[in-house]
Amino acid sequence: MTAVAVRLRSAPPFTLGASLLFWGWQTGFLLYALPMAVILESPRWIRWRWSISDREFNNVADISGLVFFLLVIYVFSIDGAGGIFVILTIMPFVLFLLVMVQHYSQRGSVKLSALFISLRRLEAQESRGLNREIDLSLPYFLLCILSASAGNQRTIWFFILSSLLIAAVLWSFRPGRYHGLLWAALLGVSIVMAYGGQIGLIHLHRSIEMSMMKLFEKYMWRYRDPDRATTAIGSIGRLKLSNRIVLRVSTNGKLARPLLLREAAYSRYGYGIWSNAPSNFKLIDPDITPGSWTLESQRGRKSVAIATYMIKDTGVIPLPQGTTNIRDSNAIQVNRNRYGAVRMEAREGWVKYRADYRPGDIEDSPPDKQDLQIADSYRSDFLRLARQWKLYGKDPRQILQTVERNFAEKFRYSLTQRDRYPRGRYLHNFLFMNRQGHCEFFATSTVLLLRAAGIPARYAVGYVVNEYSRLEGNYIVRARDAHAWTLAYVDGGWRVVDTTPSVWATADNTNASVFEPLFDFASWLKYRFARWQSGEQLEESTSNTYLLWLLVPLVLLLLWRLYGKERISTLGHRDAGVSPFDYPGRDSALYRLVEELERAGYRRRQGETLGAWFQRLDGETRAAGLIEALQLHYRYRFDPASNGAELRKRLAEKVNAILASGRIEPIPHTNALTTEAAERGNS
């Protein structure tokens, strides 16, 4: 008979029960923890044991694994990534059955192969060396303490009791060659170090979080700037364009020709950068119909539904040229600048809106002298080209035709720029030397050439919609579909002039990866999941059934496992239930102040910590004492050593004083909104 090696010894008497009670107390499951502790400690007095075979151990382990698996799916679907802490909280329930069976079995330990299915197959083949067993009581003890930490009861008792429990277990591992006093002294040193360390960790975490937020704000949150667009004119090498899907566009039917969605337009150009004078966005009043904003008085003839991902809660959105109104949106507010860029404020993530538009009717602000200006360094080139192409003396329509024809006949589309030139010579090179470039070259040159010929023109950027996805049943727009074109002011209105050769879409497609369909499918699933998670009703009545199909294999698996485990299933498993997840300091008076500030229109930015927000508000409002109130709140919320009741009282007084001072003045436009909302509520 092969000798059995048991890894890890069993937990010292009563430590397992104590850890369960500790967990129950910290997480609010004390009522459950008490009988569980009694059950696990009772074998010290109860003499009978179950004779449990390897196969039955395997079955119990499988059931625990299956419960864990289903729990993970369930909790993650409800709570998202934060669900990991809920799972941590209830893990002692999940593994209790296995540990209980081990405690009441004659063997008193569990074979490693019961926990790892791969070992079972190896064991079946080779008996020597694999016959190892493990006593689960100490890992379960550790799990209970970890799960207790998820209760997040920020009192000193957590630290004290967890230290005591760990010390009680370590006492059993104490080597006999040292005196007990030395052990106690070293343990004391460790505990003191740990106490200092945990305070240091809190501060470290806070400071890292602050600096990360700053870094994110600085570098990561890039979005379309309505006042400035940096082109790739002057970049050397081949442009690398991403295949990521950035927009999803639903139309009433197939598009006869590619649809341009504009994000912004610019009027000033110099050295590869298009810009505008800092423009004031004007707030668009919302319509009576919720989620609707009228941009133009005329009614749109066509309509598209657009879904885009917003990485911040405010951003410029792509719209068809000549958009008259936006509807079916959950935006908070909509602004527009004089160059037609529309900025939407909404919750970050996927946003959907429907735009009605009149093709050809672009109601941007009328041109001014800025729309005719050419920077000195380019003027001679474009005047020369205008002369060469005999644009002078023609009427504007003829000029446009000539320009479009010449660009189409004499220029080629290319994503590659091989040679390096002095700054500002790239356009010269494009116009007179190699005559090839990408859409930014064409659009920039067209704008400046039209201006040279006396026609006001602007540079517009956005996307081209031309790829229909059969998988999704709508149009998709990738990052590589970003495009630039020209707006020319002809006959009292703005007209789109796109001189980029029509081959550009094909040329850009050469960037497509062979795995693109796979990525597209993953992107689509992610998108559907995000929308499903946000509780949004999908418009196709049958389309959400596919999610149910995903459940089919899981249900089959569950049935199969249960069918094979008839006997074990009768053992029963206590329903875990979910903790109310309370945390200390929840009743802090500061939250009233935060509500008041938000009501007055002082919005907290995405990712902005309370500290950073209050620092900012300290300058923006006349309210005094915000920082002091925040410090009191932090002490009340996080300092386990503080006198909670007294702090709470002081904080409440401070907040009352700030609110009573009346120095938190509402921001005007927000006020208008709330009034509007109130009126809507009344009506």
């Binding site: 890890l8 190896l122 930490s149 070293l186 505990i191 170090m193 960790l201 809190i202």
Partner: protein
């Protein structure tokens, strides 16, 4: 990519070995606590796991600091047996001598077998018999295969043993037992003595260099004494050093002395009678000489089959009557080998040593074995062939041997369950033994009615 994985595996393996040696069971628990609480405690606002992290990490830090120095005046001596057998428990002793004036207790002895990492090429091309049982991920990534290779190279796993308390200036013997799981040499590289820190979490190590090697003989099976048919054969040139020589002492005739004849061959009465030296002439040497042939050509066969073949060869080496017959062990490795035992030549132990070290042949053609056997067929009374396959060239070899009148018993080590019934004997005696169930099939053979 695989190379990168391989390098990482080496790193991971070394790290895990180091942790295994350094951490006590309590230390493993605390280390697990550090990892788990580190993961869950990364956000100090969400849980209090960071407090568990600081407690466990501080305990470990203090424990590590306490093991910074470890001076011990101890001496180790390993007392190994001459041989051991693969698959059989091996017991040996280590003598621990305390040269200090204090009692040494709570020490742990970790004897080590040399661990030589396989090179990347070996790792990439090696086949592992356990691979089929593993899941696809393990098969694809290959870490369990590397662990299995290392285990095989090491040849055994020596458990750490607590050293009984050793009084001052005294010594104590410690018996260690483990089971070597492969034949060949086990190389002991050194031994370490571990002392736990006062908290009982981390071990201080002191290593003693003590290189030694131990030959592990192949595992053997129970086989009956096999009487091969066949007559005595003339051994050209006679046999030197054989204890009782065939018929060589049988007097045949007298002849005139020729230079070089030994003095003891002179027939003195005839010398005296004739006045010139006359020597005795003896009959030529005739012996029963049997051959044991091991097929080392692992072409389609697995290493497990080869190991079984070696074990079966070792079993017959032990079983064949050797008092009045010679037994030739023949195989091809980097070249052809023939070792003769019996009648005082080469002991069985020598032959088992040879078998303990035999390796599969990868760079010689099968015809080498054919040449070896056909070259000696005339002097061999009967052959036991242990083959790894039963393909055309092997059948042909058996046919040719029988054609020259050499009786042959053929054993074929098959891969698995597809073996025919145990006692199935073809017209040419062929016994198929599936790897893993050799003893069961050997027991089922009807040896008495085996038609040779």
């Amino acid at each position: 990519m695989r190379k990168l994985l391989y390098r990482n595996f080496r790193l991971v393996h070394r790290l895990s070995e180091r942790l295994r040696r350094r951490l006590t069971p309590g230390g493993s628990l605390v280390f697990g606590g550090i990892i788990a609480s580190g993961i869950f405690g990364i956000d100090t606002q969400q849980t209090l796991a960071f407090q568990i992290f600081t407690i466990t990490a501080s305990l470990m830090l203090v424990a590590v600091l306490c093991t910074a120095t470890f001076r011990c005046r101890l001496r180790l001596q390993r007392l190994l047996p001459d041989y051991a057998t693969a698959g059989q428990p091996l017991k040996y002793r280590i003598r621990v001598e305390n040269r200090s004036p204090v009692l040494q207790q709570d020490l742990l002895l970790m004897d080590e077998l040399e661990t030589r990492f396989p090179e990347y090429a070996e790792f990439a091309t090696a086949r592992d018999p356990h691979d089929e049982k593993r899941n696809w991920f393990d098969r694809m990534v290959g870490y369990p295969r590397l662990v299995s290779q290392l285990r095989h190279r090491r040849g055994g796993s020596i458990p750490a043993r607590p050293i009984p308390p050793v009084p001052a200036f005294d010594r104590s013997d410690l018996e260690i037992e483990f089971t070597p799981f492969r034949r060949g040499y086990l190389r002991f590289s050194g031994a370490s003595i571990a002392r736990p820190d006062p908290l009982g979490l981390f071990r201080a190590l002191r290593r003693f260099q003590a290189d030694a090697s131990l030959l592990i003989l192949p595992h053997t099976y129970r086989v009956p004494r096999l009487q091969l048919p066949g007559s005595r054969k003339y051994q050209e040139g006679g046999m030197t050093l054989v204890s009782s020589v065939g018929d060589s002492q049988e007097f045949m005739s007298l002849r005139d002395y020729q230079p070089g004849d030994p003095m003891r061959a002179i027939h003195w009465p005839s010398y005296a009678k004739r006045g010139k030296p006359v020597v005795k002439e003896f009959q030529d040497e005739f012996f029963v000489r049997q051959g044991l042939v091991l097929d080392t050509f692992v072409e389609n066969a697995s290493l497990a089959q080869f190991e079984e073949a070696v074990s079966v060869a070792a079993s017959f080496q032990l079983a064949v009557q050797q008092q009045d017959a010679l037994l030739d062990l023949m195989f091809v490795e980097d070249r052809s080998y023939r070792y003769t035992s019996g009648r005082g030549l080469g002991s069985t132990a020598n032959m088992l040593e040879v078998l303990a070290c035999v390796q599969p042949c990868r760079d010689q053609p099968f015809s080498c074995l054919e040449d070896l056997l056909m070259g000696h067929a005339g002097e061999i009374s009967g052959l036991i062939l242990i083959l790894l396959d039963w393909d055309e060239k092997r059948r042909d070899l058996v046919r040719r041997l029988r054609a020259v009148g050499t009786p042959v018993v053929t054993f074929r080590i098959s891969a698995g369950e597809d073996a025919p019934a145990p006692s199935t004997v073809d017209r040419e005696p062929l016994i198929t033994l599936p790897a893993g169930r050799v003893q069961e099939y050997l027991d089922a053979v009807d040896w008495d009615n085996l038609q040779l």
